[in-house]
Amino acid sequence: MWKYIVKRLLWMIPVLLGIAIVIFTIMYFCPGDPAASILGNSATPAAIEEKRIEMGLNRPYMVRLLDYLNQVFLHFDLGTSYFQNQSVMSGILYRLPYTFMIAIICMLLQILIGTPLGITAAVHQNGIADRICMVIALAGVSIPGFWLAMMLVLLFAVRLGWLPPYGVGGLQYFILPCIANAFAGIASQARQTRSSMLEVIRSDYIVTARAKGLSEREILYKHALPNALIPIITVVGNGMGMMLGGTVVIESVFSIPGIGMYTTSAINNRDYPVVMGGVLFLGALFSLIMLLVDVIYAYVDPRIKAQYEGQQKSWKRRKRANG
């Protein structure tokens, strides 16, 4: 198992390298000039040109690319923002806790509410519980996050005055953003759990379990759920990755200085280092989460664990066979 993990970690390096090259190239060819952005609307072309030279933006593509790759991969320096006087890494680290808080809370809500909802729906298929669950799921998928966020603000902040409408501070500032953000996640979690469970509940080994005389509850939690977990975990992993990337809409509505806003407004400003740094950071984070998810798979389903280990074993076998 360790060998598998190490192998995956090593694989991350070429992946990140690829991401860096792609995002650099995209930003390079992207129209728009950071120098013009810094200087403002009424700057003359001459002034803009001088600024470009000062920023090193006029050097050829390969030179800039190699310079950047060298900087990131050999010196572990993500660069400095063109606008803020701050390294990209510290900018990200400052904002990461906010995004992280939201992501974790939403993830917990998603798992704790979505999964039981889906299980209930699957067990009482076509019954009342199932219908309610599916309506909630439909609502979660259809309701735009922006709209829901504003509705929550109007209700809880303006009309009732119970919660702050925007900003950061104590835990109460996270309540509305997390609810707005988690809604869609809960819905998709419920749906995935339901369909996964439905598939599993029809399996032969469930009939076997019933024939043994186990109670429905035991069958559900000891036989059905563990088998239904794989797709469920995938959804959780994906969701976590996306949320850490930053949910721009929520951050924008609630004025939360998270990574989503950071990277997105950097795109608008053509703040290249921040955009590239943000994407790379997200890429690395996502890779790690995917690795974590894959490792969890191995513990949930022994066949997958055997697969991971078998890959080495068969390699060893072949090596021995070939002498």
Binding site: Q125, N126, S203, D204, Y205, V207, T208, A209, R210, A211, K212, G213, L214, S215, K222, H223, P226, N227, V300, D301, P302, R303, A306
Partner: protein, 333 residues
């Protein structure tokens, strides 16, 4: 049908239907039979005849929304299983009645260790500690020819035949009084079939378990069963002891079954299967269900609701013209 003693298990007028896309599928139509303790009954018939449904009805593990037990009684040592509350039924499942399933590849939980799956049943039904359940499970594994050291392995680490043996070990772990074996060897290759069958036979002898063997393989019937019930379109069309059925099949369907067996000794270019297809259970023909395919059928067959007719001993047949068939056979032999 049975002897004068109180039968160990008695199925009376069992009627089961499935509802699918608004259509009613009559899977089991008034099936009755009984079994003495220690006996083996073979349920023979084509796929889709309703044999598995009968077995699952006894255990009441039919998927309830599409399936419904419309009518009938199933007496186990005098208690009607169909009238029991669910938690009472649970005490019987795995304990008094156990089932072996057709497809060993999917019958085991892939993410649970094999030994645990066996021990689970033991711990549930017998008041033993976890350690003792584990010991007992290991013993069961040994009994089916699997080393106890493989207790902690997962199902995917076993071959098909070994998986089926695990299923057997699981079923017999609590020494059930009745074993329902649903085509236990169908999914295995021929060489393994014999092994598994032997294990079943030996265990049955050891634990004195009654068995209902569901199969479409007459060879197995010959080897294992005391009595035979031939099922067609959800009905028992012929019933008798093994000798009665094998020596003197009188229902055209039963004859057809024997007839479509390849004979090692004769040089036949083609097998002679029974013409036609089994009827659509949602749309059963009136009268004798077999009449569309029966080479001896006439108008009366299509219109009359045929009942089981006693022939002699335990032998009975659901055919209007069984006498004529018997005569035909006497003439040709």
């Amino acid at each position: 049908m049975g002897k004068s003693e109180v039968p160990f298990i008695e199925v009376k007028n069992l009627k089961v239907h499935y509802t699918s896309e608004g259509r009613k599928i009559h899977a089991v139509n008034q099936v009755s039979f009984s079994l003495q303790k220690g006996e083996t009954l073979g349920l023979v018939g084509e796929t889709g005849a309703g044999k598995t449904t009968i077995a699952k009805s006894i255990l009441r593990i039919l998927p309830e929304p599409p399936a419904r037990i419309e009518d009938g009684e199933i007496f186990l040592e005098g208690t009607d299983l169909l009238k029991l509350a669910e938690d009472e039924m649970r005490k019987i499942r795995g304990r008094k009645i156990a089932m072996i399933f057709q497809d060993p590849m999917t019958a085991l939980n892939p993410v649970m260790r094999v030994g645990k799956q066996i021990a689970e049943g033991i711990a549930l039904h017998e008041k033993v500690s976890a350690r003792e359940a584990e010991e007992k499970a290991k013993k069961m594994l040994e009994m089916v020819g699997i080393p106890g050291s493989r207790y902690r392995d997962y199902p995917h680490q076993f071959s098909g035949g070994m998986k089926q043996r695990v299923v057997i070990a699981m079923a017999l772990s609590c020494s059930p009084d009745l074993l329902l074996a649903d085509e236990p060897t169908t999914a295995l290759d021929v060489t393994i079939q014999a092994q598994v069958l032997d294990i079943i036979k030996n265990l049955q002898k050891e634990f004195k378990t009654s068995m209902i063997m569901i199969t479409h393989d007459l060879g197995i019937v010959a080897e294992v069963c005391d009595n035979v019930a031939v099922i067609y379109a959800g009905q028992v069309v012929e019933y008798g002891s093994r000798e009665e059925i094998f020596d003197n099949p009188l229902h055209p369907y039963t004859i057809g079954l024997f007839g479509s067996l390849p004979d090692i000794n004769s040089d036949v270019e083609r097998l002679s299967p029974i013409m036609g297809m089994p009827p659509d259970p949602a749309n059963l023909p009136g009268g004798c269900a077999f009449s569309p395919r029966c080479p001896y059928a006439d108008e009366t067959c299509k219109n009359t609701d045929v009942k089981l007719d006693a022939i002699d001993g335990t032998h009975s047949c659901r055919c209007l013209h069984w006498r004529r068939t018997a005569q035909m056979k006497a003439e040709t032999s």
